[in-house]
């Protein structure tokens, strides 16, 4: 088990390095850099001054030199400073990470809860209106992009109730009401996306489990329907759903970028958006590293969860 985790961490580190390298290069290949974008509309700056400014950020050095400099910095524990604010990137990250994690986790919890509930209901009452409504809802949820959903909800609420969400962020500890008013719609939009696919997968997985021979055997020994459903069928059905949750998380992460920007939530998503727009390379790199690590950790946790749920995987060795 320890060996397995070690192997995964090692592979993950390689993956992280490759991703970082790729983004490092790609960003610099995109036209425009920090200085040119900032000075786009400025009129009183001469070419020489612009060049000097660029040099001060190290933007005129060859690609490999920039890479070397950055890596040298990393080796000493310095990940660089934001071009924009000149603050160390780690500091910026530290204040943004909790916000996104909160939003993401809330969305995930909501989605898993609703998805499982609808999936189980749909499987139990197959063919009923609940089932039909769930399936249609799922297709809608999957087809409509999360930002469209969010905007639709926003538009509806503002027009119907003459209400708009606050645009200044208050942490949940200070004022829960204001917090939820601001993050409510993004959370719902993110959750809707995931609920749809979780519900579909849960439904089909549960249907299969409920008609399996082992579930029939539980009934034959006198088990109640509740036990059949929640102890046996659900556990057997959960394995493909676990995989799905791991995959869906990628969507959530991507979703935070646009939604945070739209709703002015100061999280990593918004940070990434801003950083890319302004070509704030140090910030971009560090945001990338963050997303990459989250992905790797989540997939590792999902694989470990399999081993917890399914003893066959435990015996054969996780990952075999």
């Amino acid at each position: 088990m320890i060996r397995y985790i070690g192997k995964r961490v090692g592979a993950g580190a390689i993956c992280l390095a490759l991703v970082t390298l790729f983004v490092f290069m790609a960003m610099r290949l995109v036209p425009g850099d920090f200085v040119t974008i900032q000075l786009q509309d400025a009129t009183g700056v001469t070419k020489e001054e612009a060049e000097q400014l660029r040099a001060s950020f190290g933007l005129d050095d060859p690609l490999l030199v920039q890479l070397g400099d950055w890596l040298a910095g990393v080796a000493q524990g310095d990940l660089g400073a934001s071009f924009w604010s000149n603050r160390p990137v780690t500091e910026v990250l530290a204040e943004r990470i909790p916000v996104t994690l909160q939003v993401g986790l809330l969305a995930l919890l909501l989605a898993v809860g609703a998805g499982l509930a609808f999936g189980i209901l749909g499987a139990r009452r197959r063919g009923s209106w609940v089932d039909g409504a769930t399936r249609i809802g799922a297709v809608v949820g999957l087809s409509v992009p999360h930002y469209v959903t969010a905007l639709l909800i926003l538009v509806a609420l503002t027009n119907l109730f003459y209400w708009s969400p606050p645009l200044v962020f208050t942490p949940i500890t200070e004022n829960p009401s204001a917090y939820f008013q601001q993050v409510g719609i993004p959370i719902i939009a993110l959750a809707l996306m995931m609920t749809a696919s979780i519900a579909r997968m849960t439904r089909s997985s549960m249907l299969e489990a409920l008609s399996s021979e082992s579930v029939r055997a539980v009934r034959a020994r006198g088990g109640t329907e509740g036990r059949v459903l929640f102890v046996h069928a659900l556990r057997n059905a959960s394995i493909p759903v676990l995989t799905l949750i791991g995959l869906e998380l990628g969507g959530v992460l991507g979703g935070t970028v646009i939604l945070e920007t739209l709703f002015n939530i100061p999280g990593i998503g918004a940070l990434t958006y801003d950083a890319v727009s302004t070509r704030d390379y140090p910030l971009v790199i560090v945001c990338t590293i963050f997303y990459c690590i989250v992905y790797l950790v989540v997939t590792l946790l999902v694989d470990l969860a399999y081993a917890v749920v399914d003893p066959r995987i435990r015996t054969a060795g996780v990952g075999s």
Binding site: N236, D310, R312
Partner: protein, 378 residues
């Protein structure tokens, strides 16, 4: 088996039953059979105190907005302590018969008839009452032990479930579980209790399934093809286990199988099914020695035996087994029967009693006069 179409149906001279059958029954359980000799068991449906009595049972399944009958009026009975085998091929309805006893038909429904068990009609019971009977009074052994056990839980947990559903107090469960495992011949029962199904061999898994079935000492155990998924030598062990359990606890056993040799080795009475009806029933020795229904004869003859001349073809009948869904009027076997007449094709034959608990559902029996029928009985 010659296939002459006579104008009136005539019975061919009864084939002397293959020697193997007598030998098998003799070698199967010599000691136990001696017990039976001292306690003659009256077999027949005339007694009112059978453990299980199925009367004119019809079961239908939904198909494209219609209900299609899968069992067409099945009637038989099992006494306490008896082993009855239901034998048939695909489409005979034997598995549906077994599942209907436990109320596990899924989308199927009993549209007519009754299943009287211990004085109550199972077809009229609600979910909750059926649940109390399952595992406690009637239990089931499934065909594929790997599929019948939940792969995510230990075998001890699943046996424990059976015990707890049956009312065993929690403090007793662990001890009883180990005891049951020992009773079904599982080596090292304490450790095996914590094993998962995929860690055991096929025979061991089936022993666990049997342990679950007998956990609460039910009055009737229904075994659906209990040895089909097992190797021949393991099959022998499992059949021996079932025989022992049946002998020691006096439980009745209903075995569903397609294999006549299993019938010969373990059953007291046999019921032959084809296309959703019972075509013949009676004591195993009688039916295997002198099969009356043409289908029973064909089924027995279809397995090549040692005393067969290898250069002759195996006796067989043309055609395929009927689909459960479309069934012709009249006798279900008529399309393939070498002795079928117009009457057979038009009208389903009733069950003709042949004495000694024997019955055959075939118009051939109608041509026997009462006198020759009595002669046969003697």
């Amino acid at each position: 088996m010659t296939r002459e179409r006579a104008s009136t149906p005539t019975r061919p001279a009864p084939d002397s039953s293959p020697v193997w059958i007598r030998q098998m029954m003799e070698s199967a359980m010599p000691i136990a059979r001696m017990d039976q000799v001292t306690e003659p068991r009256t077999v027949g449906r005339d007694r009112g105190d059978e453990l299980l009595e199925v009367t004119d049972l019809r079961v239908a399944f939904p198909r494209d907005d219609q209900r299609v009958d899968v069992l067409h009026g099945v009637s038989f009975a099992i006494s306490a302590g008896e082993t009855v085998a239901i034998v048939g091929e695909s489409g005979s309805g034997k598995s549906v018969m077994a599942l209907s006893l436990l109320g596990l038909l899924g989308s199927g429904r009993c549209t007519r008839g009754s299943i009287r068990f211990d004085g109550r009609d199972l077809t009229s019971l609600g979910g909750r009452e059926l649940r109390r009977i399952r595992g406690r009074d009637i239990s089931m052994i499934f065909q594929d032990p790997l599929a019948a056990l939940d792969p995510l839980f230990t075998v001890g947990f699943q046996i424990g479930e059976a015990l707890r559903f049956g009312g065993t107090p929690a403090s007793e469960v662990r001890r009883r579980t180990v005891e049951l495992l020992r009773q079904v011949g599982m080596p090292d029962p304490e450790r095996k209790r914590k094993a998962y199904p995929h860690e055991l061999s096929g025979g061991q898994r089936q022993r666990v399934v049997i342990a679950i079935a007998v956990a609460c000492a039910p009055k009737l155990v229904v075994a659906d093809e209990p040895t089909t998924a097992l190797d021949a030598t393991v099959e022998e062990q499992i059949l021996e286990l079932l025989r022992t359990i049946q002998r020691e606890s006096g439980t009745s056993l209903l075995i569903i199988t397609h294999d006549m040799s299993v019938v010969a080795r373990i059953a007291d009475r046999v019921v032959v099914m084809y296309a959703g009806t019972i075509v013949e029933e009676g004591r195993v020795e009688d039916v295997l020695d002198d099969p009356r229904h043409p289908y029973t004869q064909a089924l027995i003859a279809a397995v090549p035996r040692g005393d067969m001349n290898r250069h002759q073809p195996v006796p067989t009948i043309d055609g395929s087994l009927p689909s459960v869904w479309d069934r012709p009027p009249g006798c279900g076997f008529a399309p393939r029967c070498p002795y079928a007449t117009d009457q057979c094709r038009a009208e389903a034959p009733p069950a003709f009693p042949l004495g000694g608990g024997r019955e055959s559902r075939c118009w051939l029996e109608a041509t026997e006069t009462a006198a020759s029928a009595m002669e046969r009985q003697a």
